[in-house]
Amino acid sequence: MDSYIKDRKAEGDEWMPFTGLEESSSLPTGDIYVPLEEWLKSRESLLERNGRLGVALSNTDDPALIKDDLDRLDLVVLEFPKMADGRAFSQARLLRERYGFKGEIRATGDVLYDQLFYMQRCGINGFELRNDQDVSNSLKAFDEMTVTYQPASDEEFPIWRRED
């Protein structure tokens, strides 16, 4: 069952997480994402592969660590270990707004209906929903609110500076 949303559509997920590059005899094929640590260690050999690359940040990693690599990456994976832990909201905005990342920013972990709207506003466009979440129902969450006050990844200006 798909529990993945990309750009507000239910999608099949082509990406595979990958760890343990040093122990493996051959480079994996296809679209893979690796933890930040592996990326920093094996950047060059990973780049020699065909297939798209992503990096997974833990929510305590400074996104500035990959800012110079972003044009070679298609995916950055962020973690929401539990609903109440909102550190990755800041990481997403920094990646999107400060470092200009154009690829997919994906939320993983406790990705639940009531956060999708906020995640979207922070520049997250890939959502690995928690298993118990209903995908088609979740698509409604993006449109529950249509009015936003403050700038974020989707708006440069606060409401009082926007031209209607």
């Binding site: 609903m83 109440a84 832990d85 909102g86 550190r87 909201f89 800041s90 990481q91 905005r93 400060r98 639940l112 009531d114 956060q115 709207f117 906020y118 995640m119 506003r121 922070c122 529950e144 609110m145 249509t146 009015v147 936003t148 006050y149 403050q150 700038p151 974020a152 708006e155 440069e156 200006f157 606060p158 409401i159 009082w160 500076r161």
Partner: protein
Amino acid sequence: MYQYSEQDHQLLLERVAQFRGQVERRLKGDLSEEEFKHQRLRNGLYLQLHAYMLRVAIPYGLLSSDQMRTLAHIARKYDKGYGHFSTRQNIQYNWPKLEDVPDILDDLAKVEMHAIQTSGNCIRNTTSDPLAGVARDEVEDPRPYCELIRQWSTFHPEFNFLPRKFKIAVSGAIHDRAAVAVHDIGLRLIKNDGGETGFEVLVGGGLGRTPMIGKTIRSFLPKQDMLTYLEAILRVYNQLGRRDNLYKARIKILVHETGEEKFRELVEAEWEKIKTSGLFIRDEDFAWIKGFFKDPEYENLLDQDGNYENLLLSNLDFARWADKNIELHKQSGYRIVYLSLKTAHQPPGDVTADQMDAIADLADKYSLGQIRTTHRQNLVLSDVKLKDLPALWEELAALDLATPNYNHVTDIISCPGLDYCALATARSIPISQAITARFDDYDYVNDLGDVSINISGCINACGHHHVANIGILGVNKKGTEVYQLTLGGSAREDAAIGKIIGPAFEADEIVDAIDKVLSVYLENREDPEETFLTTYRRVGQPLFKERLYG
């Protein structure tokens, strides 16, 4: 006051619909209590000892008479006929039913009110000086800045799941009536040598288990930079604030553990990168927002009135009330009037639905249709003509809202305590009422002068006992409620955390203990003008200790 645009209304309607959906999902069992908790808390809905409690936002403590009537209607229709004004200028209802809450929010939305972010680990309702715009000691009206902060912080997508709750207070006057030093961020409007308006920025104040006074991390921030700077502080906090321990998650702990200097560097470095962003406030933005808070059309009046002055001489009760509960206004011929919510008959801060309706009528009749709520849990009519004071007083007295005790010993801040709260370890309301009953002699209260007593029913300190001149903390010791005394705190511009004086007192001893503390003050003050706090600071703890335990 601020008037909602179509979009502001739209946002509230969407929010009510969203919350209605959340309640339905919860009642159907699609949402676990744990997950619903995060949602209901972001909408001011707590589960208390006996029932849900709904906290409704009163942005920077400003209410129109129609809003007050709606608050009365809600108290009557969905609650037990009363509401409780809190130390953060909001109102709380203690008995709503979960399934009624969406309807309550619908009623509130009709008068531009809501419960958004009145709890939960997000940016809470911004509080301010209840005398904003009318105080004589004002540098600049803080309300336009508060409204910009309200809009910026409402459903801020990045800062809705912070390590812990986050409170901002703004003061625009010389005297601090908003307790800015005990907020996560306190903003003090000041002018620099060039006459430009800006802010002194305090960060990391707070009460609770680890009380701290905010540190000034910037002595002058130009007003145009207010929101970019707030965003920088919040971003640093969201990323680095502790999430491993609930009791170490407030920004005060981050500032303390990081060190003031290093914390300032982190904020300034982040701010450098965003200070020219879309949140920079332009002159035209200020012009727009200030347009909502223009001075009303005051009449040109003499600052004297024959009837008023005659009544001062002929009616002792009126003279006492006028002495205690009236403040000078910036405009000649007008006065600011405090409505005391501290009587022997109701818990501090409580107001009945009938009183609310009557207050709304009085506001329309005498004070340009507006009411303010205060940090010390009273109400204010801000624009009363001097000549109307006798009539207003008669009506207030009939409503039991004219106790002459503003900023005096019986003007007590109290949390709801064990009578309502699931966290409390002791009762607060009966203690405040016992103190009020003991000190019912006007002349004695008058002689004691300016003194604050605050009561908290547990170490979370919602009653702000740490920053009272005389603080009372109720704790449970081996099954008995006992009360610890702290002395020397202040929530004003000379903010300080009080110190515990010694072992706790039993419930039936605490009022005597307070009496002794006050006697030591009276015996040792240099003259009647010297306040309790000044005397305490001069003579120190030993004399008080000796009297209490000697």
